[in-house]
């Protein structure tokens, strides 16, 4: 009888958490996640736009690979894990959001060094007025300030979706180049630094990923130097085209195809939690 009562006592101890216990648990888990407090994103969050969709696929790829990974306990030593199965991640990422060209940095090598992956929605978008003389361009800007200071970005990609457009000869090759805007001067063209360029068949559709690692590290070190990136499109005859004409989706496109930026970075120190 007594042991049944004891068992009853044991099971009854797993009652639903009280308000205070819940707050305690939330505080502990937030401190493990390295968050100062509970984030408060503003709706609407559903349906998820392109960045969460991409990140959700990355999450599933990592979770599938993380299963066979485990840390041997090194007594009194921090368990050092590494992103495992990064090659598979590269396949999944390109399989899920196929980039039109193979130029992008192989996610595998990048993810294996990263601790955290962050995606940023496009903040500002402006483009050259079509009534102005060529060349046409489109600019994008991302707010990287949420990245914890002092981190090193191991890779950063700018992702933009290309749809099919009428009137384009499918077998024509388009040259799309992405520059970092380094310095703006009144009445003159800004100083640009080439980040990445890709040649894309006009008749294909899908995600394009440009390597913007050097720019994002630069912005991380000098946040005020973040003037964004500029994108140009040219034909093989060096004729400048507007991004919209060739089907590149901007902020006004469908949410699941809007451009975004994704950064992989490594935290320099394992976050130590304050003693309590």
């Amino acid at each position: 009888l007594w042991s049944q009562q004891a068992e009853g006592l044991v099971h009854s101890s797993f009652r639903r958490l009280s308000g205070r216990e819940k707050k305690e648990m939330q505080k502990e888990i937030l401190s493990i996640l390295g968050l100062p407090g509970r984030p408060r994103p503003h709706p609407p969050l559903r349906p998820p736009s392109s960045a969460p969709l991409f990140m959700l696929d990355l999450y599933h790829a990592m979770s599938a690979d993380g299963e066979d990974e485990g840390n041997e306990i090194i007594v009194n030593g921090p368990g050092m894990g590494k992103f495992a199965g990064a090659e598979r991640l590269a396949q999944v990422s390109h399989a899920v959001l196929p980039t039109l060209s193979t130029h992008t940095p192989p996610l595998g090598t990048v993810v294996s060094e990263a601790d955290t992956v962050m995606s940023f929605v496009n903040l500002v978008e402006q483009e050259r007025d079509l009534l102005q003389p060529r060349p046409y361009w489109k600019e994008f800007r991302f707010d990287l300030t949420p990245l914890p200071q002092g981190e090193t970005v191991t890779a950063a990609e700018f992702r933009i979706y290309k749809t099919l457009t009428m009137g384009q000869r499918a077998n024509r090759t388009l040259h799309i180049s992405v520059y970092e805007i380094q310095r703006e001067t009144r009445h003159r063209e800004p100083e640009l630094v080439l980040l990445d360029m890709q040649s894309v068949p006009a008749g294909q559709e899908g995600w394009l990923a440009f390597d913007v690692t050097s720019a994002s590290n630069h912005w991380l070190l000098h946040p005020r130097s973040n003037l964004g990136i500029r994108l140009y499109v040219e034909t093989e005859e060096d004729r400048s085209l507007s991004a919209g004409w060739i089907g590149l989706v901007g902020r006004r496109g469908p949410r699941s195809k809007q451009p975004f930026m994704v950064t992989f970075f490594r935290e320099s120190q394992v976050p130590c939690r304050p003693p309590r």
């Binding site: 042991s3 009562q5 068992e7 006592l9 998820p48 999450y59 990592m62 979770s63 485990g70």
Partner: protein, 133 residues
């Protein structure tokens, strides 16, 4: 052979003390050290709006006795075997080997920050893979 401690009085009654944590073998039937289910639910914590994935995860915990002799099923380290033997010789000086995680794995958490950016973070040592003495 261990001599009985000269000064230690034999306790009159050794009724098992009912408590949740140090359950005596009486009511858990002397379970050997092993992994037990423990689920941490983010949705129970009211975090469904900002945690995209997972909704929670099985963290597990280790519990059970490290009986002598430590069988291979207990995944005991050599150190535990030695500690166990010394414990038998000097039970008052050296405690029994304890049941603890011997392998931990990470989990990845996908969540929104205050600016609706999406962050994917991997957190190490969040899930018990194997327990041992």
């Amino acid at each position: 052979a261990v001599k009985p401690h000269p000064r230690k009085k034999k306790p009159k009654y050794d009724l098992p003390v009912p408590s949740i944590h140090n359950r005596s073998p009486a009511n858990n039937g002397g379970q050997p050290c092993k992994k037990h289910e423990l689920y941490v639910s983010f949705s129970d914590l009211g975090w469904k709006d900002w945690v995209l994935a997972p909704t929670g995860y099985s963290a597990y915990y280790c519990d059970g006795e490290c009986f002598y002799p430590l069988g291979s099923c207990m995944n005991a380290t050599n150190h535990a075997v030695i500690q166990q033997v010394v414990h038998l010789m000097k039970p008052d000086d050296v405690p029994k080997a304890c049941c603890a995680p011997t392998k931990l794995s990470p989990i990845s958490v996908l969540f929104y920050d205050d600016n609706n950016n999406v962050i994917l973070k991997k957190h190490r040592n969040m899930v018990v893979k194997t327990c041992g003495c």
